[in-house]
């Protein structure tokens, strides 16, 4: 009776359960960070990797697409970690941004968004070609997926790509976003990601909002607004360029 009541209360308050679960995970991660790495690896970096591991477990258990949030008890994670709260919190990080920093890096940030889209698309297209794809539609769709997992399906749908190719493009974007979350804190020092200027360039080059959001949170939360600012323009620019100009370039190079 006690057990049943307990579960019923938890399942009736899933968002609150999510707060408690994430609180415990963050606490445990900071504990590990202090004890095992003496603070060298940021507590939030460990928490994000922990979140990804839990997502993997949830995916294996349920066969769903929402990680741990597919388990009814943890459904609140879907709300807490959904785009609505994420964007709301990202906007809040802009409070305290120094406007002159933003202005100083504004142009280079905008340029890096365009470079980021073109480079990701090209790299993805080359990989698709290397794996044997020879038609421009499939190559462009997979290239677009290497930009973000939204640009991929938008481009694929616009060009009339096969659904298996669209699924591949989503997967490429997912790999990118997960990898950005994990790799950013590890590589930040080497690439000079330690100031607002490079954070804006980083956001523009990577473009995956979730990857950039988590990557910077794990590196230095003070840089979040700068990276997020450019990253939020990336998907739009990608959806503009990939099915039009970039597709035409692929068509010209491949020939069919």
């Amino acid at each position: 009776m006690i057990g049943e009541t307990f579960i019923r209360v938890l399942e009736g308050n899933t968002l609150i359960v999510a707060f408690a679960v994430i609180g415990a995970l963050v606490w445990f991660s900071y504990f590990l960070s202090a004890k095992l790495t003496r603070g060298k690896l940021h507590g939030s970096a460990i928490a994000i990797v922990g979140g990804l591991l839990l997502a993997y477990y949830g995916g294996i258990r349920t066969d769903g697409s929402m990680g741990l949030a597919d388990i009814p008890l943890f459904a609140g994670l879907g709300i807490m970690g959904g785009a609505m709260f994420r964007d709301f919190a990202i906007i809040a990080t802009a409070y305290g941004v120094r406007f002159d920093e933003l202005k100083k890096a504004g142009l280079i940030g905008a340029i890096s968004v365009i470079i980021g889209v073109v480079v990701s698309f090209s790299v993805g297209a080359i990989v698709a070609y290397a794996f044997g794809y020879r038609d421009a539609v499939a190559i462009s769709t997979i290239g677009a997926g290497a930009a973000t997992y939204i640009v991929g399906p938008v481009t694929g749908t616009a060009l009339g790509a096969d659904s298996s190719v669209i699924a591949l493009s989503v997967a490429a974007g997912l790999v990118k976003s997960v990898l950005v979350m994990i790799a950013t804190p590890l590589l930040a020092g080497r690439v000079g990601l330690d100031n607002p200027n490079s954070a804006m360039i980083y956001g523009g080059l990577m473009g995956t909002t979730s990857g950039v959001a988590a990557g910077l949170a794990a590196t230095d939360p003070k840089l979040v607004p700068y990276g997020a600012m450019t990253a939020t323009f990336y998907t739009g620019v990608g959806c503009l360029l990939a099915p039009s100009l970039l597709f035409l370039i692929v068509l010209a190079v491949i020939g069919n």
């Binding site: 997502a55 470079i115 480079v119």
Partner: protein, 123 residues
């Protein structure tokens, strides 16, 4: 009051995302173009107003800073709802494309940073 800060954030987000959506339709793409970025710009402009009728009191600031502080936990929750299984089981093409795109991005950061004006002041 704390709610003033939260409501200010809400106003900025709704306005910014609305403009981002319009911008997307205007240039003919099926996506929101920079809605969150525009919201952030709006917030920065509003809180830097020097108008005497519009000043951010300490409780109002608390409402904004609460969500600022919730950022990391929200991102951890976001990580926990990613489709990690699909990312890992999607085969080598997707994994290679994802890795290559990320590697290219990281390689380009220092190169582009070197091009930006006034960069030596930041280091």
């Amino acid at each position: 009051m704390v709610i003033y800060g939260v409501a200010l954030l809400a106003f900025c987000m709704l306005t910014g995302v609305f403009l981002g959506d319009l911008l997307g339709q205007l240039i003919g793409v099926q996506a929101n173009v920079g809605g969150v970025g525009l919201s952030m710009l709006l917030l920065i402009v509003l809180v830097n107003q020097k108008h005497p009728r519009f000043n951010i009191s300490v409780p109002t600031e608390k409402g904004i800073n609460f969500w600022n502080a919730m950022y990391v936990p929200i991102v951890v929750a976001m990580a926990a709802k990613q489709n990690v299984v699909e990312a890992l089981s999607s085969g080598w093409l997707a994994i290679t494309a994802g890795i290559a795109a990320v590697a290219a991005g990281f390689l380009l950061i220092p190169l582009i940073a070197r091009l930006s004006p006034g960069q030596h002041n930041d280091r």
